[in-house]
Structures are given as C-alpha cells and as structure tokens.
Amino acid sequence: MSEIILEVKNLKKYFDTPRGKLHAVDDINFSIEKGKTLGLVGESGCGKSTTGRVILRLLNATDGEIIYKGRDIRNLSKNEMRELRKEIQIIFQDPFSSLDPRMTVSEIIEEPIKLNKLIVDKEKRFERVVELMDLVGLSRRLINTYPHELDGGRRQRIGIARALALNTKFIVCDEPVSALDVSIQAQILNLLNELQEKLKLTYIFITHDLSVVNHFSDDIAVMYLGKLVEKASSEDLFNNPIHPYTQALLSAIPRASLDNKNEKIILKGEITSPINPKNNCRFADRCNYATDICREKEPELEEVIPGHFVACHIFKK
C-alpha cells in the first residue's frame, strides 16, 4: 500500500544575481512514498540543497507545486506552515554551522519542543530531551556541553535529535554525512536507517556520493544543473544507468576493492554556470555522445522503462 506523501510538480527556483537569472532548480518533478527514501544526487551546485530548502519553504519557490499530504505547501498561511513544520524537518550538511554555538546540547534539542509548546512542563520536557539523546546515541553526560566542544559525528547526532524532537514524519537530509570521516559516516547512516524503521520516517536524502545513496534509498533522482536527468528505483539505476551523466557518475566512484575494477568514463570539463542557461540539453557540452539535437533542444524527462525516467535525446530507447 503505497501512499504518496510528497509530490513536487514543475518546481522552479531562480535566484537574481548581478550577472543574470540563476536557474538553481529548473522545472523538476518527483514524488515520494510514505516511509521511503528518495536519493537526490548530483554534483556541487546542481541545485540539490535548493530543492530541499524550497520544499521546507526556507526559500520561496519561483514556480510549481509542492504537495504534501494533498496540500500545496506554497499556499499555506504562516500559522499553517508553522503547524506543518512539526512534521517536516531538515538535517544539514555542515554540523558546525547548523548548531547555534551559544546554546548547549540540551537547549538545542529542547528548542523546537519549547517553541511549539509541545511539552510545557520543564521537567517533562527535559525527560524528552534525554530520551531523544538516548535515541540518537548521545551520551547523557554531554547534555550541557556546547557544540564546539564536540566532534562532527556527535554534532550531527544533535542535529538529528533536533529534527526528531517534534512529531516528525518527513526529513530532508541535506548531505548529512559528507563532512564526516568514513567510520563516523557509517555510524550516522546506520542511525538514520534505524530511525527510519523505528519511526516510520520518510526521507529525501541529498548527497553527491552515489555509493551512499545506493545503500540508503529506494528511489534515486539524478540532478544536473537544476534539471532532473534520470529517476528510477535504486536497483534499476545502479544496474541500468541510462543517461550518459549517470553512467559517468557511477563509473567515477572509486571502489575500495581490488576485484571488479570498472572502466572509467572520464567526462570533459566541469559543470557549467547555471546563470541564464541555454535552451538545450544542459549536459551536452560534456557529453561524449552529444549530437546536434542535444545542442538545440531540451530533452524531456520520459519514462523509458516502467518506473525509469530519463531526459536524453540519445538514450530514449
């Protein structure tokens, strides 16, 4: 029984910059089922974080719909939005700048409960804080320390505890592990996994590291320069990447294994500027297969195999 919890339709977010309109997110569509994880993958600057922020209305979208449980978030009043924030939360990439350095661990975790008046009694609230700390595996003796006294992994746990403090159903995880060492990274990934099972959470999992989402997501959407270029179940995507960019991305991941060394696809150049992009395939400049049509027309995201969407003129079929 799959129930769509969030659906994004034709979402656009443009920024005004001195040099022109920056198309950070340009007309993307996807949906997520309850209790599932959608991995959002792409290179630096392709618009992943912006997508996450727009969904939480930390930024206002330029255009499109964000339908959460049947209601368009963009049309909610301030109060309705505040109500909704109890359900949808975000975990940030940088565990250093995402925690207020002037607040102790308990104050940070307590803040959402206090602000939303979920628990008014001070002691009860405190019990809840301790409960949350236990949940994310933070030692209780750290309760009154400040973030700067802690390492990245622990800080990230604080961020997670804060995100869980409300009646959270849906979390945007914006590269929650990319600033961490591998061994710590694995700890956090496991924790997020456990929490998802325990609390029936839905995640959007943003990352630039395909190997991380592979392990983590049910579906994966690949972004390139503000556009979705491919979208499929992780299974499909890894076994049968269709878009040339996805293929290159997959092949570029260094594998820590002596066996199955894969042939690398080395792309030319680097991701180009998202300011005033031309109306063509945005990957055309770097694509090894690009033809004239790629440089002239923008490909649509089409379902090439059931459940497998690709935006490419060449590999449509």
């Binding site: 496991n190 392990h215 260094p254």
Partner: protein
C-alpha cells in the same frame, strides 16, 4: 650513509604540537619507506597525523607550536633532519614537492597562474624569466589547460582547473617524490576522476615516486602500489594493495572496509567502527585503538603493540598476532 633503493625513508618519527591547551601527540613513531617509482597511499581518519608527517618531509612543520621530537628522515639519501634552511629551499620543489588538499586556497589569489608555475622553475633551474615562462606554459598544457590562460588569476579558474595548476606547480621541476595531501577530497567525483587520471598519467611520464595521502580507500586502489594505514600518529598496518585488501590484518583496517558502503552489494549492512579516535591530547598507554576495538584484550590496554611481519612488505601493529600469526579477523566476533 647507506645508499638504498628507497626514495623516502622515515624512521621512528615523533612530532608533537605544544599548545596552550596541552600537548598534541600528532605523530608517535612513524616508519615509512617508499621505493623509487612506487606510490604509497597513506590512509587514516581526520587528525591521524597524515599531514603532519608529510610536512615533516619538507621540514615545514610550523614551529611553534610544532616540534619534531625525534626521528630520521632520509629523502633521496639526504638527511632532512640535518639539512639547513637554504639546503631545504633547494630540496623543496626539486627533490620533493607537495600538493595541498584544497585547490581553492592553495593558489595565491594575487599572482597569475603562469607566474606561480614559473616561479618554481626560475628558482631551481638556471633559466631566464622568459624560459621559465615558456616552461610554465608547457606545464599548463600538460595538465590540460590551454597555454594562453597563463596570465589569468586563480579566481578565473574552476576548482578542478585550480587543482591541475597546483599539480603543474608541483611537477614543474620534475621532483623525485610528490606528496599529494588529499588532492581530490574537495572535488566532485567526476572531477576527481579527471584529476586522478591525470596524476596516473603524469606519474608514469615522470617516473615519480609518490606519497598519496587520503582517507578514501577507493582512491588508494586507483593510484597506489602500497598502503599504510595510520591511526593516532602511528602506522598500524602497511603492505601492498594485495596485502591490505586481501588479507587485512588490523581490526581498524577491517573496520574501515566495513564502513564503506559497497556499491556492488547494496544490502550489505554497514558495520562501522564504534566511537571516535582517541583524544590526541591524551593518548592511552596501550594500543590507541583499543577502546574501539572489537577484539580488545587485557594486554591492549597496557602495552603498545609491536610490529608483526607477515612478509617483507606487510606488517601490522596488533597484539592479536603476538602468539598466533595465523589469527583471522572475523568481523568483530572474538
């Protein structure tokens, strides 16, 4: 001085940082050998002492607070410990050069890219400014950047291009040893692939030896011949790629492998190492890893493990093999 076939030979290196908050024991008796033409991967967590070790080879440990307590470094049979500053200036760039982690900050923002490359050439080779410039242009083209961008400033380059420039600077005087300190960590995967590819090519071309610092075992596979695993300022396991990947000996190394999400087997559960690396201000008396180790024994708490050799190339520092060299790791089960 014994001449040998090693480009780099570090023995029993101890380095610490004396700060207001205490003494950081950053490097605690490191031994590293790199054979000529080989690439050694130095792998370890944040704070393990990788950069410190690398800097000590160039004698660039900031002093204060850094302090080389003891140890020997032979670089191309030159005793670094005894070399004075002017000798070091000769050595740097010509015998050994280094690439730093973050290409965004490794280039001087107010000097043109060309001048930054030419500078090293001018210093070390008896050439005119003009020849140095020409050579710089060649280098730039060699790392895949059009030569006519010689007079541009770093901010006009993208991250990947900057890292290429940094590589061009490092290679401009064909050093015998290249130290690369996490050269691709700050880059996107597709760019990382480009840069690694370039480095592989150039290494072949220049017949260089290389010390590749990274925390990514994947990168190690791509470019290294040998691997040294560093933990809390010590090399706890070293061997060829085969040794480390196929017959992992140290529980920490095993932990590292288990922490990496496996792209082939997505159902495999991650089995991270517990806890954190010990506080470098206050290292335990025994094995530094013992707190996090699933195979922990009594002796681990009190006694530092000694090296145990399995072959000429492969050794480990772990009490598990004191009595039984054939002990097999089994994912944490004792």
């Amino acid at each position: 001085m014994i001449l040998n076939n090693n480009i780099l030979n570090i023995e029993d290196l101890v380095i610490r940082y004396v700060t207001e908050d205490g003494i950081v024991e950053a490097v605690n008796g490191v031994n590293i050998k790199i054979e000529k033409g080989k690439t050694l991967g130095l792998v370890g967590e944040t704070g393990a002492g990788k950069t410190t070790t690398a800097l000590s080879i160039l004698k660039l440990i900031p002093d204060p607070p850094g302090e080389v307590v003891k140890g020997n470094i032979l670089l191309d049979n030159i005793d670094i410990m005894k070399a004075n500053e002017s000798k070091m200036e000769k050595i740097r760039g010509e015998v050994v050069s280094m690439i730093f982690q973050d290409p965004m900050t490794a280039l001087n923002p107010v000097i043109t890219v060309g001048d930054q490359i030419a500078e090293a050439i001018f210093i070390h080779q008896k050439v005119t400014k003009k020849e140095a410039n020409n050579k710089a242009k060649e280098m730039l083209e060699m790392v895949g950047i059009p030569g006519n961008r010689l007079n541009e400033y770093p901010h006009q380059f993208s991250g990947g291009m900057k890292q290429r420039v940094v590589i061009a600077i490092a290679l401009s005087c064909s050093p015998k040893l290249l130290i690369a300190d996490e050269p691709t960590t700050a880059l996107d995967v597709t760019i990382q692939a480009q840069v690694l590819e370039l480095m592989r090519e150039l290494k072949k071309k220049f017949q260089m030896s290389m010390l590749m610092i990274t925390h990514d075992l994947g990168v190690v596979v791509e470019v290294c011949d040998d691997v040294a695993i560093m933990y809390a300022g010590r090399i706890i396991e070293q061997g060829t790629l085969e040794d480390i990947f196929r017959s992992t000996k140290h529980p920490y190394t095993e932990g590292l492998f288990n922490s990496i999400p496996n792209i082939e087997d997505r159902k495999a559960k991650l089995k991270p190492i517990r806890g954190l690396m010990s506080d470098p201000y206050d290292l335990p008396k025994g094995c530094a890893f013992c707190d996090r180790c699933d195979y922990q024994m009594e002796i681990c708490k009190t006694k530092k493990p000694e090296k145990v050799y399995f072959s000429d190339t492969h050794f480990v520092e772990c009490h598990l093999y004191n009595e039984n060299k054939d002990f097999k790791l089994n994912n944490g089960r004792k």
